[in-house]
């Protein structure tokens, strides 16, 4: 089971990927989340004057925070637009995937077959996304706004005109950092990562780019997903003698890795860098001061001082009593993308929506970005952030922004 950035598995070893044991299938016909105007979805939704949106997201287990943040972001946009997107009344249906692949497939099926949704939002986990591809393609009845799952293979293997990443891909959160690290931090790194698809991808992309930039990879450490104690791995990192480390860990793995790195005093010896999920809003409170001075790369940073973002942050905080995180932004942009698609297409037909969205530009809190017409991947700039001491605990500060990143197309040409 692969979970994307931000997900966390609770416990050690590969014995227990599953956080919630009973969640093969989850089914949640909910009213709209807090503050949203939409009412519960019901059978026969998706008529011509309504736009039915299905959230394929986890709302329970360790991934609950991610799923809920995405929905909160989505609802915020919806609320700001009086419950309409592209002039259509919006109905939302949501089911709890609990981050499990099997459940994700079931829910996708249900949304497409039963609820007749016009748009899918989600999932959080790449494994779910990869498993969903076939169903989405088969039914071809809804546009798919991928609000988090970042595995590049959705584009490489799927290359679907209905699929739009309103989030990121794993290349984006790793490779672009390589040049920056080479220029600003060190010319040699050790790579450490959670040993599952997403971690492996991130490691590979970074390595490729780092070596291309002229740097040297002096060591590589793979820790099983859900490792609790990193001390055996820290030894290998230390003995590599590297001046910097690039890592991919997320959720509780990120918490454990970063805090133990600091417990063992290793961060005095090397500069820690990583994909943004290593040091994100959902892990920083638990990482605390252990995170200080570490660098990471992400497309959204809540502390970014642009007007667009500050407005978003204050609106979101007002509504949810907390700072938005990257997932909230992705949820927000999913709604925005759907808004653009629906108003441009003036239709709720999936392929109309998709062609209307292809190449479109979004004015996102993360900064302006557009969908690559060839892959429907987001063409966006990435922030390099450093963890600094803020007013309430530690926070990320943008120290550089990498613009004009050229994305690979992985053989996809829509």
């Amino acid at each position: 089971m692969s979970h994307d950035p931000g997900t966390s598995t609770g416990s050690r070893g590969s014995t227990n990927r599953s956080v919630s044991t009973t969640s093969r299938r989850r089914f949640l016909v909910s009213g709209a989340a807090a503050g949203a105007t939409a009412l519960a979805g019901c059978a026969g939704g998706g008529g011509s004057d309504t736009l039915t949106v299905g959230h394929v997201l986890p709302t329970s287990g360790t991934y609950a925070l991610l799923g809920e943040s995405i929905m909160n972001g989505f609802d915020l946009y919806l609320q700001q637009n009086d419950g309409q997107l592209g002039g259509y009344e919006v109905e939302t249906v949501q089911r709890d995937t609990a981050g499990e692949t099997d459940t994700g497939v079931t829910i996708t099926n249900e949304f497409l077959v039963q609820e007749g949704v016009d748009a899918l939002v989600g999932p959080v986990s790449s494994a779910v996304a990869i498993a969903m591809m076939q169903t989405v393609q088969q039914e071809s009845s809804a546009i798919w706004l991928n609000a988090n799952a970042g595995d590049y293979r959705v584009t490489q293997d799927g290359c679907m005109d209905l699929h739009f990443r309103t989030s990121f891909n794993d290349w984006q959160t790793s490779a672009p950092l390589a040049q920056w690290v080479y220029e600003n931090v060190a010319d040699n790194v050790v790579l450490s990562y959670a040993d599952y698809a997403f971690g492996q991808n991130s490691k590979n992309f970074f390595q490729e780019a780092f070596e291309e930039a002229g740097g040297e990879v002096v060591g590589e450490v793979a820790a099983p997903l859900g490792t609790d104690d990193y001390s055996p791995f820290l030894g290998d990192i230390e003995s590599s003698g590297a001046d910097a480390a690039f890592s991919f860990f997320a959720g509780s793995d990120a918490v454990n890795y970063i805090s133990q790195l600091s417990d063992f005093g290793l961060d005095d010896e090397l500069t820690q860098t990583g994909s943004g999920f290593l040091l994100s809003e959902d892990t920083l409170p638990a990482q605390g001061e252990a995170a200080l001075g570490k660098y990471s790369l992400l497309h959204y940073t809540a502390t970014k001082e642009t007007d667009r973002n500050q407005t978003f942050v204050s609106n979101y905080s007002e509504e949810h009593d907390r700072q938005p995180n990257v997932y909230a932004c992705q949820g927000y942009d999913s709604a925005q993308a759907l808004d653009i698609a629906a108003s441009n297409a003036d239709s709720t037909d999936a392929s109309d929506l998709a062609s209307a969205l292809s190449g479109a530009e979004l004015d996102s809190p993360r900064g302006e970005f557009s969908f690559d017409p060839d892959t429907n991947e987001p063409l966006q700039s990435m922030d390099v952030r450093e963890v600094v001491q803020g007013d309430d605990g530690v926070e990320n500060e943008v120290v550089a922004t990498i613009d004009d990143i050229e994305l690979p197309d992985w053989g996809c040409s829509l």
Binding site: M1, S2, S23, L28, T106, V113, E115, A131
Partner: protein, 359 residues
């Protein structure tokens, strides 16, 4: 020969003698008939219900396979996900690399289940009771790790075999020389229903066969069975392997249906959930666990409409086990036999609970 007789042609009627009473058999036939009608109806009302029904049937089959060894033969398997999962992976690998023909894929899934179960069983029957349970769990987890870490790819030096944590995705639908279009979900439903019904028939048959009787004897008094001349370990391994075949079939039906094989299918949590289905439904009754599977699948679907749905689901398990000592099946039977006393039963159960807790 009537259909009823097919279940059990020489039923003697003694309560200790048959796994199902005549009424029970009739009930099951009626249920199968009802399910045959329900499929199309459900599909007409809400197409997704058909999808759900197929899932329920698959898990009912899996629960049935486990109950045959767990409830009937007393072999506490905590590792049935291993057979389900490997059966599923076998199906996925065949579909991806060889053929999607159901007549090849499903027998291969059964065979995989049998082989894996024979392997696990051969090692595990040396221990008894909870130790046996833990050994089966251990072996199942080993399969899980193998699939998750994609060890076969490392050993064979190829890029991927099990697909690691993402699993094997994008599977083609099963086909049957064009006889039955299985991409049509209704057809898949009937295929599944038919196979589940046949499996039930086969297992009832097995339970009442000389072999099944020996297993029952082993459950009752394993040592004495050895001292009247039975090679107990061999019976246990074979019983386990047969059960594994049905579990493999369930996996072989499920994976092409979801077009996905992933490591979670092998995880102990699934085995644990299965045991819960058995205990909730009514251990050793065969039909109870199938019902339990349906209830658990439905509960998980329906309950999650509530915010704290896990709390509710957990409470359901707790309440059932405390107040319905013989599971749903036991509660249904006593309700059927004495409907008027239902309230009395509840009162007794409460009084009993109070007494035990206050003690």
């Amino acid at each position: 020969m009537s259909l009823l007789d097919a279940f059990d042609p020489r039923e003697t009627g003694s309560s200790t003698d048959g796994i199902l009473s005549n009424r029970g058999r009739f009930g099951i036939l009626a249920l199968i008939a009802a399910l045959a009608v329900l499929g199309p109806v459900a599909s007409a009302v809400r197409p997704f219900w058909l999808y759900l029904l197929i899932q329920i049937l698959v898990f009912a089959l899996l629960a049935l396979s486990l109950d045959f060894v767990f409830g009937y033969a007393g072999l506490l398997s905590f590792g049935h996900a291993a057979m389900f999962g490997t059966g599923g992976y076998a199906a996925a690998l065949l579909i991806t690399h060889v053929t999607a023909n159901a007549l090849v894929v499903l027998p291969a899934a059964v065979l995989t289940g049998v082989v894996v179960a024979a392997f696990i069983g051969w090692f595990s029957v040396r221990a008894r009771g909870i130790y046996f349970a833990m050994l089966t769990l251990a072996f199942a987890q080993i399969f899980y790790v193998i699939a998750f870490a994609d060890l076969p790819s490392t050993l064979l030096g190829v890029e991927t075999v099990t697909g690691g944590d993402n699993g094997i995705v994008g599977l083609a639908t099963l086909e049957t020389f064009g006889l039955l279009d299985l991409s049509n979900r209704m057809n898949y439903y009937f295929l599944t229903l038919g196979l589940v019904a046949l499996s039930l028939l086969a297992i009832v048959r097995l339970a009442n066969s000389p072999f099944g009787r020996v297993l029952q004897g082993v459950r009752e008094n394993e040592d004495r069975m050895a001292f009247i001349g039975y090679d107990v370990r061999r019976y246990k391994v074979i019983g386990f392997a047969i059960s594994g075949g049905f579990a493999g079939l369930a996996g072989g039906l499920y994976v092409p249906f979801q077009s996905l094989a992933q490591p979670q299918l092998l995880n102990w949590t699934l085995s644990g959930e299965l045991v819960v289905m058995l205990l909730l439904g009514g251990l050793g009754t065969l039909w109870g666990p199938m019902l339990g599977a349906g209830v658990v699948v439905l509960l998980e679907e329906q309950l999650s409409g509530f915010a704290a749905w896990e709390v509710i689901l957990g409470s359901v398990f707790v309440v059932v086990v405390i107040f319905a000592p013989r599971g749903i099946a036991g509660a249904l039977v006593s309700l059927w036999e004495d409907p008027e006393d239902a309230i009395g039963n509840v009162r007794d159960a409460l009084a009993n609970y109070r007494e035990k807790v206050m003690k």
